[in-house]
Amino acid sequence: MTNLIVELSKYGLSILAALYTLLCFSILKKKGTVEKVQGFGLQLLILFFLHFLAYTVLYLKTENDNLLVFYVLQVALITFVQIFFQTVYPKVNRLVLNNMCFLMAVGFIILTRLSYDKAVKQFQIAAASLVLSFCVPFLIRKCKFLENIPWVYGGVGLALLGIVAIMGSVSHGAKLALSFGSLFSIQPSEFVKLSFVFFAAARLSESTAFKDVVITSVMAGAHVLVLVASRDLGGALIFFVAYLVVLYVATKQPFYLLGGLGAGSAAAYVAYLLFSHVQVRVLAWSDPFSYIDKEGYQITQSLFAIGTGSWFGMGLLQGTPNKIPFVEQDFVFSAVAEELGGIFAICLILICLSCFLMFVNIAMQLKDSFYKLTALGLGTLYGFQVFLTIGGGIKFIPSTGVTLPLVSYGGSSLLATILMFSIIQGMYLLRVDEGLKNEKKKQKRSPRRGKAEKTKKES
């Protein structure tokens, strides 16, 4: 009986993931509000069913009774988050909310499989982060000064990165984290990502005069250089790309985008010539099988995992994903592909794409240029990070050692990503406010010195 369930669950999980993914894209085409709400509800139902099926298999295979409690707590958390957002912020973007829950649930499932202790820790941080995030949309709406303090974002962010570069604990050649004792460490760069986008958006929404662009770019470049000095190559790339995109959209100058990309490529090439750790990454990517014992070990293990899993996966607890070094962080996608299968993994890619598209979509609808640029910058951070981690895991590009947001293990990354999703929700709600104001304005047909109108004129 156990075997039957385990065997059929492989196909069941793939089908459920595919259905969920399909809804991500098909709901958007639906015109009627009722239809949409039904669609989102159905998505949630699929999510719970998938989660249930996965934990059934995990329980049957491990017979660890703690999993029963753990499962119930997870269901409670997801239910609570859904109910809270939908009651307190009725206009919340349901797709972004569902995707956040889905990705977190996949994270819990795969982490439970990889390491129960880490999964529990991840769950605790997720619960705390979500509670914290409840007030974020409210703050976004109420705090009108957010766009007036670019140098606070820039200064604090750069200082934090600097502290890490100097005092950070070195792990595997890179300085990423600040350790407080042996139990607790944080990765400030995860949070600086957010402040960095706020900085860029605040500065560039204020002025895109050449002089200001130069000043802003110097500050942004300083962030990137400090990350390079800490050997956080993935982080440096993400900051760089996010800044370029925000700069391009703010200035509408293709020159900045192309020039930036050119300069970035040149810098990457110089880094390749100068730094041995960059060369190792490129070598491990271009010819991993010739260096399978050392440089290429991680990526070849990842490819073995993905290939062995094939389309439907080995089934939960049927593979050996723990053979991949850092599987819970940088290579969690490969673990998903090995045990849940290639179809599931492709769905994961598409769900991440769906998140990105929603972020950009929200950015497009916002009229205030600060909020617009912030939403876009955060979306770019997210999209490019997903591209780097999945691309690295499947050997499409050299591995840069970044995490898959919401799925990978890591408290700082999880908290920062949940905050990011909540900030986007806050912006989405602002868009609704903006819309309401415009309608009211039309009804009254009288000039009002509202924020929305002012920015409209400017743009």
Binding site: N3, L4, E7, L8, V245, Y248, V249, F289, I292, T300, L303, F304, A305, I306, G307, T308, S310, W311, M314, Q318, G319, T320, K323, G342, A345, I346, I349, L350, C352, L353, F356, L357, V360, A363, M364, L376, T380, G383, F384, V386, F387, I390, G391, I394, K395, F396
Partner: protein
């Protein structure tokens, strides 16, 4: 902003497409890697498929007893030992090469799912090899009790038709005799595949390459003549012909057919060491071979600083040059195939246990090792070796063969030598290249060529 959306959507689409491409096309070759320990997981769910000869004869199969115990059986015992290999105590040969394939079942999907559910093992796919039982049997018998190796390749495709290495072992006895087999130095072990891993001084078979280089460097090579009195001295080093025979006046063709050492040492002294080295690189000395079996890299050592004695020795295949029998077979097969080397391979296709073809491995050209004209000229010269030169023992064959014999000294004891023959059939519809090495076999004509003759006889 739309631009940004398109760019990022494009990046995501590329990820998804590459992922599908990986799972669809790259996957099998990636995971069929000896380093992939995940293959062991399959063994718990799949009964190892068979390994079959080209004609369907069973070379290896798994017998399942009533209580579910599995035994791997090798009906031909020692005969296919190194080619088929073994699958316990590690893996070797085809058992290693095709491990993933025999542990993958492509049987009818509903059947597989039903068996999974019933916790029954599925039956893995069968590996249909390129190996020819008649050729293997002939080569195995002809090599007799000698240490050495015989390799036969179909030059137009690269199919390895037979591969014998001796001393050999019975793969049915791996569990019982593993300790004994490993008590010896690895290079003396019966497990050592001399065909691909053994490195030997090539002796006179290397004259094929010296000849090629000479023709490349000197447009008037055909006008070469040399009066051989049995020895040639430069400084305090003297090189002699086999048994100090004085060959007398030699044209290039005669010198090659008679395997005249002094003439070739004379040629060697005039060759440009760097160009020579380049030609050898092109012929895959000091290079990776396009071969998926474990092998040793052949080496060629000569540079512009080399002394006269080193040049003389190198040009007759003594010196520090080392080569494997498989590599010599590949060179012969490239000459036979108009200079184009086909990558040697052992797995022809995969089929389900019910006989449905799953995947066919197509011949792959590695590249051109020499020009069409060069290959043609070398063939003419090599034909003369049989017609009027050293390989007299092959004259009785009813087909035309081109080849070269070699007797390679390998120690300070000049009376001992390894016997070599490498050659191929000319003008036949089915082509065949054969390389024979007999350790301490004495002369190429006496020991190696007759073994090659048996293989040709078995094929034609």
């Amino acid at each position: 902003m739309a631009v940004v959306t398109y760019i990022f959507s494009g990046l995501f689409a590329m990820l998804a497409v590459y992922f599908v491409y990986f799972e669809g096309f790259l996957r099998e070759d990636v995971i069929n890697n000896p380093y992939n320990s995940r293959q062991e997981l399959f063994a718990e769910q799949v009964i190892r498929g068979k390994i079959l000869a080209a004609d369907g004869e069973t070379l290896a199969e798994t017998l399942v007893a009533a209580d579910g115990t599995e035994t791997r059986s090798y009906p031909y015992g020692n005969m296919f030992a190194h080619a088929v290999g073994y699958s316990s105590h590690g893996k070797a040969g085809l058992e290693l090469l095709g491990n993933f394939h025999v542990l993958t079942s492509n049987a009818y999907l509903p059947e597989r799912v039903m068996k999974d559910i019933r916790e029954e093992k599925n039956t893995g796919d069968n590996l249909v090899t390129t190996l020819d039982v008649d050729l293997q049997r002939a080569a195995y018998a002809a090599l007799g009790n000698h240490k050495g190796a015989v390799v036969a390749i179909e030059p137009s495709t690269g199919k390895i038709l037979c591969m014998v290495s001796k001393p050999d072992f019975d793969p049915n006895q791996v569990d019982a005799q593993w300790e004994d087999w490993n008590a010896l130095d690895p290079a003396d072990s019966v497990l050592y595949n001399r065909a691909t891993q053994g490195l030997y001084p090539p002796g006179s078979v290397f004259k094929i390459i010296t000849l090629l280089e000479y023709m490349r460097e000197d447009p008037d090579a055909e006008d070469f003549s040399f009066d051989c009195d049995g020895t040639l001295t430069r400084g305090d080093y003297t090189i002699g012909c086999y048994r100090k025979t004085a060959h007398g006046m030699q044209s290039l063709q005669k010198a090659f057919a008679n395997s005249c050492n002094t003439a070739f040492a004379q040629i060697g002294l005039g060759l440009d060491a760097d160009n020579f080295s380049q030609t050898c690189d092109q012929l895959l000395f000091d290079q990776k071979l396009p071969l998926s079996l474990p092998y040793s890299r052949s080496s060629f050592v000569l540079d512009s600083g080399s002394s006269d004695s080193e040049r003389m020795m190198t040009s007759i295949g003594q010196g520090e040059t080392m080569v494997s029998p498989m590599h010599m077979a590949m060179i012969a097969s490239a000459i036979s195939n108009r200079g184009v080397l086909m990558e040697p391979y052992l797995i022809d296709h995969l089929e389900t246990y019910t006989g449905n073809t799953v995947r066919t491995f197509r011949p792959k050209a590695y590249g051109k090792l020499m020009t069409d004209v060069e290959a043609k000229t070398l063939t003419e010269y090599m034909e003369q070796v049989i017609a009027e030169g050293t390989a007299t023992s092959l004259r009785s064959l009813n087909i035309t063969v081109a080849g070269k014999t070699g007797s390679a000294e390998f120690s300070s004891d000049k009376s001992k030598s390894h016997a070599w023959f490498t050659g191929f059939s000319v003008g036949e519809e089915k082509d065949l290249a054969v390389c024979v090495l007999v350790e301490e076999g004495g002369s190429g004509n006496g020991q190696a060529a007759p073994i090659a003759g048996k293989v040709f006889e078995a094929y034609y």
